[in-house]
Symmetry: C4
Subunit: 216 residues, 4 copies
């Protein structure tokens, strides 16, 4: 009898979508470090001097800040995806196709993060980052909307809870849109604008329907 | 008593092949961004000017388009692999060896995508991409054919459904073959040719055997 | 009836956090090799001569040593994470958010390892590595402390065992702190200092509470 | 009641080791393509000419061949690891620590593959590749030996079958050792020597104990 490895149950198809998503997020978060590169002590200076390496590392400061901004942004989207998938009872091929589109824009994030780090005081780098994350947020809303329409939530989520949760997912888009004109006044201020999404979510949290808690 | 972590069931061997596949696809899709690189404002120009960074980003347009073409191609193959694996009831070592060969050509895709992006108006870059994806499609057909012959499908799939599905898997090869002479007339036209696989699949869809639906 | 892939059970949310963690660690360990680069035979020398390639590889020695130091450090943290997760009976969103912060600093390790390899005789590169790993250790202690406070351990771990295990997790921080002044005397000596964590853990092992074994 | 994600069973600890292994292998196989780089049409030549890009791609031939040699080597080790893990009934921390050491040398493979591609006609690049794979094979034997000694196989494997299987795992080491002097005569011949592992495994297959089949 030749070796045969049998499958255990039907659940692996659902799991694969979640794990493929996790892998793309994990690689996107880890690839950011490749864009950071290594500090470079200028030609002719003593490479063994701590002061020179400190100067070279200081030149990397904007890229390192971008790395952590990027990590927490990607991490935040992963957390949201985790919460979302936890409500699904099943998944179908059109939804998986939408997941792939969503992941393409997640996979593109290291470009936006790298450009932000390299051109920290250029308004356009803020715009590129804001547009990329805005698209990811929009696709997140689309994934949620499609899941509701196709009846993938289990148990089904009431319409008012769905509306409120889509509003929560969409709220960063408004913040990213706002950061674009601000970045043209001052790029650093545009980056700081993104922090507004925290109080915005808190304000929106007040409109949370009474029955939302039961579906978390 | 020393710590021991016990395995739960026999299913992990089957799952590992699926997850190894997912990981290679996820990394291939994410590595594409490394080939994109970062926009480079030319030496001597103001790095903080949005206009200059826009010019530099425009230079990356072909690479960015290739990134998304590559993402959707890889995503499409992953979707096909997902559907295929969903029909398998078990897997054996020769099939796994074939999976490894298939994954080697998936892992090579960032080279083809990067070359396409870097040499967007060169017919040979279109040829390299078409040949690489053509080989992946061919190996997809081989994986399907081998699974049928070795009785890995569960429940078994009737011969006519198998023939039709292999034809569907093989159809992109024809489109890729066609795109090669077209690319020598005009490279961009060769890339557009690939979109023909959508209507072709729709036409082939009409020949779908009546009993195929029961095996999806 | 359209295709639908159903989820099998509720366990996937817990598993996803563990597998996302595994993926970040796996990529961090593998990306180290990207920082190693390839040996470079100097322009004008015979590229086919084994002696020349040996010289070029010798130039990479510090980077290769750093690669393996980094691999074993990352591997050690992964082992600790594996042991820690084995005690958890459940996980909640605030804990997952803390995991994401912890993973951001794991994902940053290739930068520290690469800088150490590139500037092996510079005290600051030792400091960067020590600070990065020190933060990872600190976050490991925080994760443990939070899990205890939130009642995620199952069965619950007695307070004295928790205290001792947090002390074990925190002990590398002391060693990393010690290595910083030592590195300014001699960088290589600073790297060697890290080996002190092995005897330190053995000494701390003597204070292990009698009931600790039951919770491994 | 706050959200809590419960674990489903005890099996995740065993699975995590397998999936961490898969992730490192998957990334190692995919990172090889980063070392390939992109074809470079020489400065001053027409970038849109198919003939020029063909020349530039031809310059990459050795690196591309190395990519596929590396893919199949890594794939072969993954297949062996898959077969090995299929026999384990449980795993313990010392075995996991040994797995981490083994994975460090797997993660190092892109360096060996890249050096082989870059210095295809240099005997030392063949030596580096042979030594790296030789160490991986040796650690594979050690993992097997440790699993047998610690009673991790389930059902237990008889001593004669264990001896034969360790001999099979160790056999590539002999081939790699042989390829080293051959490479100094002619590097390409050294690479071809590796193909000898196929007939060698066939010869050793004749000594397979009669009861080995029952443990596959």
């Amino acid at each position: 009898m030749p070796t045969r490895y049998r499958r255990e149950g039907p659940g692996i198809e659902f799991d694969r979508v979640a794990f493929f998503t996790d892998a793309v997020f994990a690689i996107a978060i880890t690839l950011l470090v490749v864009e950071v590169g290594l500090p470079e002590v200028a030609e002719g200076l003593d490479r063994d001097s701590a002061a020179n390496l400190l100067d070279a590392t200081r030149d990397k400061l904007a890229v390192i800040v971008s790395f952590f901004v990027g990590c927490f942004a990607i991490g935040g989207y992963w957390l949201a995806n985790h919460r979302f998938t936890a409500r699904l009872g099943s998944i179908d091929p059109p939804q998986i196709a939408l997941v792939v589109v969503y992941l393409a824009f997640v996979a593109f994030l290291p470009f936006a993060v790298g450009t932000l780090g390299e051109y920290f005081s250029n308004p356009l780098s803020v715009v590129i980052f804001a547009v990329n994350l805005g698209i990811v947020s929009t696709l997140e809303v689309l994934l949620y909307w499609r899941a509701g329409r196709a009846g993938l939530f289990e148990p089904p989520i009431p319409a008012d809870v769905q509306r409120w949760e889509m509003l929560m997912s969409a709220s960063p888009v408004a913040v990213f849109a706002l950061s674009i004109p601000v970045a043209f006044i001052r790029p650093g201020l545009g980056v700081l604008t993104w922090a507004l999404s925290v109080p915005l979510q808190m304000v929106l949290g007040r409109w949370r329907p009474a029955d939302a808690a039961a579906y978390e």
